[in-house]
Symmetry: C2
């Protein structure tokens, strides 16, 4: 699932500052919806930064099952495995919307991290928030039933907590993808979604999925 860095951290990731920080070795890329950025197994020699748009990270297992690890937004990095010495991409990255990415060569990134304090601080903050997010996801998996996981995911996708009013969930997201993100089957997702709908936690408005705050009860209860 996508780690949305806290509002505070996000504000500090000013693309301008960021761009200034990196010297050469960077390149701005435009990707259109559905385009693949890298594929599991590719050589990993760069890190990416999302200036605009959404990107999804997926992995496919030996038996062909697919899992979605997260949906990343503006201000997120991805592909950092490369920095840790992973020679190959462990998953695939796909543009979920048209987007504008910054591609930073591994070498340039390492240099920048070593040289520029502020940039390094920024990156450490990002890694920490990412860590927290993964930890939460793991806890979610260890504790909760697939029904609760779905509820939590929907709330996260709806950027819950930002505004008071019910928000629109990402306009297009298939039940299949939702299932991949929480580690269950599509039929289960369909089943729960309808249950949520009948209970009034959810609406299938034409503009997309509307998540009501009452869905929180599913996550919080017990």
């Amino acid at each position: 699932m996508a780690p949305p860095p806290s509002a505070k951290q996000k504000r500090e990731f000013e693309p301008k500052t960021f761009l200034a920080t990196i010297g050469e070795g960077r390149k701005v890329l435009a990707h259109s919806r559905k385009q693949t950025i890298f594929t599991q197994g590719d050589a990993a020699d760069a890190v990416f930064y999302i200036q605009e748009g959404k990107v999804s990270l997926t992995v496919v297992s030996k038996i062909g099952k697919e899992a979605t690890l997260g949906i990343l937004n503006k201000g997120d990095f991805f592909g950092e495995g490369a920095l840790a010495g992973q020679a190959l991409r462990m998953g695939s990255a796909t543009a979920l919307t048209d987007c504008e990415l910054l591609r930073i060569d591994k070498k340039a990134m390492m240099l920048a991290l070593h040289r520029e304090h502020t940039f390094s601080d920024l990156f450490v903050a990002y890694l920490l928030s990412r860590n927290i997010r993964y930890e939460e996801d793991l806890v979610d998996q260890l504790f909760n039933s697939s029904e609760k996981r779905l509820a939590r995911l929907l709330l996260l996708l709806a950027h819950f907590g930002k505004e008071g009013a019910p928000e629109i969930v990402i306009p297009k997201i298939s039940q299949e993808t939702l299932a991949e993100m929480i580690g269950t089957t599509r039929s289960r997702v369909s089943f729960f979604m309808n249950r949520f709908r009948k209970l009034g936690f959810l609406d299938y408005g034409e503009s997309g999925l509307q998540v009501h705050s009452s869905l929180l009860n599913v996550v919080l209860h017990d």
Copy 2:
């Protein structure tokens, strides 16, 4: 589950170098087995570094279920959430063996990270490896059945891949804990363990659990 940084990274985390890097604000602590280092809900104002011993990180859910997020070893950090602005501990840390920890005040850590290149590089490397580990754990949860997750966990605990010969798994680890780490019930663990044993993937030697490389088949096979 515990992220064992790659051998390479671990070598670079020389406690000596490390200690020199941090100025004031650090303290060496001795904890004896079973002692609790911090508890879920405590104020989070420091980061810890394990100089010697093993530490387990756990979380308890609202309904009292317990999950074990990982078992950390010499050279690992924990409690880094504090650096990302978490005011409270999201989980508890307990000494699994007698251990020697370094407690670093949040402020001192931030300063050191900002000032000392090499230390910052080290920490970034650590965070990256930790990230990779969490990602793998998440993938494991999303893809695999509890049986495979158990097999993987046992192999990880046995430090598989380091030596050729079958290794001894951590001498004392209860099925209860194993269950908490993979998100299933103790009876399930007991059931699988015996199955593994009958199939010859495992031995209950007196010195502890012996994991055979053949256990890999469980993880790898389809």
